[in-house]
């Protein structure tokens, strides 16, 4: 067969799968709600605006908590907290993880072995335990310590993934070809390694984002997250626990918020991979 006739269609357009659209919508909804709380909430989150533990009504879409505060307002603020934790933790994890992972991938055998072993130990350490230690070591729980703790815990996973992905790319002939033609290490990272590993990394970041949201909810549930009034969903869940039989919606509503964000992030992640990786686009 001759290769004289080009056997390819015009470049494919991006494929927006239903899963990606649902994911983007869910995440987008949380982002809009989170941003909205900066300028407007239905009620003052600290004000008692109704009867205690009232069921959902037109005035209080998610009912009220045990102090009579509007639960929907608190859940909206929770979205803002969850998103800031996710963004902060993923930024920290990405900065530390990608740097360490790339260093390990380029390092000599001996350095790489040490780094790989260290990462394996760190990864074996439960995220929540590590986060609790960091929160405990700092002077009091705050949103900042939670973000830092979760970010550091996640960075070891990002580092290991980066190292594996980068190693695979570095073994390719086009890397040798680039080196033969005199490209330096930084050039290779910028031109070849990062573009090739980022589709997988971005998916992992989105997954880590979801895990960070869950981790923060868990920390808050344990009383190690941000203190009120900027309560996170974890704290709402914890407060609702005592009254879960009499007022189940206090637990259900923040639960729905948490799950919908995490599911949205996961669907969004898969869609992103297709966008970032041209070899996965269908014609």
């Amino acid at each position: 067969m001759s290769d004289a006739t080009p056997a390819f269609a015009p470049l494919p357009r991006l494929r927006l799968t239903p899963a990606f659209l649902i994911g983007a919508t869910l995440v987008g909804l949380h982002v809009v709600v989170g941003l909205l709380t900066l300028i407007w909430t239905p009620y003052d989150p600290t004000a008692m605006t109704g009867g205690r533990l009232a069921p959902p009504s037109l005035a209080h879409w998610a009912g009220t908590d045990r102090l009579g505060r509007d639960l929907f307002t608190e859940i909206m603020i929770g979205a803002r907290i969850a998103l800031s934790v996710g963004i902060g933790a993923v930024a920290i994890a990405a900065a530390i993880g990608v740097t360490v992972g790339l260093l390990a991938a380029f390092a000599s055998r001996a350095v790489d072995d040490v780094l790989a072993a260290t990462l394996d130990i760190l990864i074996a350490f439960p995220t929540l335990l590590l986060a609790m230690l960091i929160v405990a070591a700092s002077d009091g729980a705050s949103l900042g310590t939670a973000i830092l703790a979760i970010g550091i815990a996640a960075s070891s996973i990002v580092a290991r993934l980066t190292r594996i992905l980068a190693r695979r790319v570095l073994a390719m002939d086009y890397i040798t070809a680039a080196r033969v033609s005199g490209t330096g290490w930084l050039g290779i990272v910028r031109i070849h390694v990062l573009p090739n590993i980022w589709p997988t990394l971005i998916v992992n970041f989105a997954l880590q984002f979801g895990l960070a949201v869950i981790a923060e909810a868990s920390l808050s549930y344990l009383g190690l997250g941000a203190p009120p009034p900027n309560a996170s969903w974890g704290r709402l869940l914890q407060e609702a626990q005592a009254t879960v039989y009499t007022a189940p919606f206090g637990a259900i509503a923040p639960g729905i918020a948490l799950v919908s964000l995490v599911i949205g992030l996961n669907l969004f992640a898969d869609g992103l991979r297709d966008v970032a990786d041209p070899t996965r686009r269908r014609r």
Partner: protein, 266 residues
């Protein structure tokens, strides 16, 4: 005339075990040298050693001079200066030789830009890329430049890889089984292209292959490797006409038998 590449008594070891022993060969400007041998005989390792890119954990001893500079024992940054001006490579599997996530035009442009930067020239990168694509006979360059490697045929990919090597304007081209992954017709086309370009640019060529007929048409001199050892070398007609070593004889007879079988079938 000064040799572009001179390898003397090259031995490559991996945890003490020799993978290549006592290999010597040289390539002069405009000369085309074949390196042949069965799979695993150490052809690729010899080529990698020549450009100072042996895999981790391998050590080379002996002497390798690339453009009159010693490669063995030099710091990577000294050798790096030679790469991209003195030598360029083309690999066996064009799919892994091209970055899967970068458009072809951009990959060739990187090579063009790097070379121009080294020479301190300013070039019209776009025009030069299209020019190179025309030279390697890629059809519809303006459109193909926007294609990703997986959207091209094997032959087109290998042509693109050759264009990238050409962009480096090397004095020595190392081609490691550049046609093995291609079907016979495409193989012949790519070989002809390589031959023409090497002659036009007066490049030296180190052509690695296990395929006797392919080597026979592409080179002037040949070095035969077996299990990491050099068993024979000399002008192509001499080695293949009167093979001295039983291994070479075996190769030649196998090729002849194949030709006869083809002839009988036709």
């Amino acid at each position: 005339m000064a040799d572009l590449l001179t390898i003397e008594n090259l031995t490559i070891r991996h945890v003490g075990r020799p993978l290549v022993s006592d290999v010597s060969l040289s390539v002069a400007a405009g000369e085309r040298v074949g390196l042949i041998g069965e799979s695993g005989s150490g052809k690729s390792l010899t080529a990698l050693a020549a450009i100072g890119l042996l895999p981790d954990g391998m050590t080379a001893s002996g002497s390798i001079r690339l453009s009159d500079r010693e490669v063995i024992g030099s710091a990577d940054r000294d050798v790096a200066g030679l790469r991209g001006t003195a030598v360029a490579t083309i690999f066996q599997e064009p799919l892994t030789a091209l970055d899967p996530l970068m458009r072809i035009g951009k990959q060739i442009a990187e090579a063009v830009r790097r070379r121009a930067h080294r020479d301190g020239r300013s070039v019209d990168v776009q025009a030069e890329v299209l020019g190179l694509m025309v030279r390697v006979a890629l059809p519809d360059p303006a459109r193909l430049a926007r294609a990703y490697p997986h959207e091209m045929s094997g032959g087109q990919r290998q042509r693109a890889a050759i264009a990238m090597a050409l962009a480096c304007r090397p004095s020595l081209l190392i081609a490691d089984e550049p046609t093995t992954a291609l079907d016979v017709t495409t193989q012949a086309e790519v070989l002809t292209l390589l031959e023409t370009l090497v002659r036009e640019e007066n490049m030296g060529l180190l052509f690695i292959s296990h395929d006797l007929p392919v080597v026979g048409t592409a080179v002037d001199r040949v070095v035969v490797l077996r299990a990491g050892e050099m068993v024979e070398q000399g002008p192509i007609a001499e080695v293949f006409g009167r093979p001295r070593h039983p291994y070479t004889l075996g190769l030649v007879e196998a090729a002849r038998a194949f030709d006869q079988a083809i002839g009988a079938a036709l």
